[in-house]
């Protein structure tokens, strides 16, 4: 219980100290978490009101509160739902998932006081049992490399649009194709340097709050909005803008700032 309590506390502090956000809804919504859910339950989820964590089966998975980024991931689902309501399906759903990994990873880095070049960029690095051949649920720096195991299978995340997965499974691949925007964030943060939350994180957070981020936004529109927000925050032609453009380019998404500027009219 303490682990979940502490994890939610650190996540709250992160959003407050870095983004001046007062809880999930920015209006001080009490953070509710349920732990020890079900029996040997291998999962953690957000149900629209609260976070729930299972104990894991102790065979493949340990308890789901063990990784701070997983706690941050679940809380961030509440933030995304509140700000953008990104539909949990296809590309919008993969962006929803990616936002949770982005904030989850930053919460862990914040706790460890880690700059982006020192971070492991893994989600759930503590969660898999010793029996599993793998290092985490996902890798943001190298999507597709998190595990390759006889029981779990191989990490299916793509890291480039060329390998985008079309599927009806997993709500249209929300936990699969999130590898693409995840890697874009990793590239932007490491190219900019310093702490991820200072600049790349700020750009992503402002994009999440941008009114032009509609519920059904796809990767390209999201990417354009991050460029637009990089310009708004740091100036046209800034290192930050360049880093964000290059990051999306590297995962196969060509950005255009003309387009988001038009959205305003």
């Amino acid at each position: 219980m303490d682990e979940a309590y502490d994890g939610l506390g650190i996540t709250y502090d992160f959003f407050w100290n870095i983004f001046e956000r007062h809880s999930i809804d920015d209006e001080g919504m009490p953070l509710q978490g349920i732990v020890h859910f079900g029996k040997e339950y291998n999962n953690a989820f957000w149900d629209g009101q609260k976070m729930t964590f299972g104990d894991g089966d102790n065979d493949l998975f340990k308890r789901f509160t063990i990784s701070l980024d997983v706690i941050g991931h679940e809380l961030a689902h509440g933030v995304t739902e509140d700000e953008a309501g990104l539909v949990y399906f296809n590309q919008a759903g993969a962006l929803n998932e990616s936002m949770s990994d982005v904030f989850g990873a930053m919460v862990k880095q914040y706790k460890l006081n880690q700059s982006s070049d020192k971070a492991d960029w893994l989600i759930g690095a503590e969660l898999l049992s010793e029996k599993v051949s793998g290092k985490a649920l996902r890798s943001m720096s190298d999507p597709g490399s998190a595990y390759d195991d006889p029981i779990l299978g191989k990490d299916p995340q793509p890291k480039h649009m060329n390998d985008f997965v079309n599927t009806f499974e997993d709500n249209g691949g929300v936990h699969i194709n999130s590898g693409i925007p995840n890697r874009a964030f990793y590239l932007a943060a490491t190219n900019i340097g310093g702490f991820a939350w200072e600049r790349a994180g700020k750009i992503w957070y402002e994009t999440l709050k941008d009114a032009r981020l509609r519920a059904n936004t796809g990767f390209k529109r999201f990417a354009n909005l991050t460029v637009y927000n990089a310009i708004r925050l740091f100036g046209q032609g800034s290192v930050e803008e360049q880093a964000v453009q290059n990051a999306w380019n590297e995962v196969g998404i060509k950005t255009s700032i003309k387009e988001p500027l038009q959205y305003a009219h």
Binding site: K39, E40, Y41, A44, W46, D47, L137, G153
Partner: protein
């Protein structure tokens, strides 16, 4: 009794865990077979109807369960958190059987 059980979704997509499991109670141990039948009966599986797609939330698991027992047949789909306790018990047990079978 034939049980087709599929668990989809969750905080990560694991290709190896996302396959549907066909469980034939005849090939289970006596104890597991009795337990499965008891849980199916207790949640009145053949008379419940669930076909839910959650509107909010994220990382929930969705369970699709199809059971055939003689002339009785039913298929349901539910997502976490499963409020029906007897059904939640059945799902926990099917998860356990799937683990044993892998």
């Amino acid at each position: 009794m034939l049980i087709d059980f599929k668990s989809d979704g969750g905080i990560a997509y694991f290709p190896g865990l996302n396959r549907s499991k066909l469980i034939n109670t005849d090939s289970l141990s006596n104890e597991d077979s009795m337990k499965a039948k008891e849980l199916v009966q207790r949640c009145r599986f053949f008379s419940i109807t669930y076909n839910e797609v959650p509107q909010r939330g994220a990382d929930r698991k969705t369970y699709t369960i199809s059971i055939t027992d003689g002339d009785n047949k039913n298929i349901i789909r539910v997502s976490d958190p499963v409020e029906d306790e007897a059904l939640a018990d059945l799902i926990s047990f099917l998860n356990k059987l799937s683990r044993k079978a892998r």
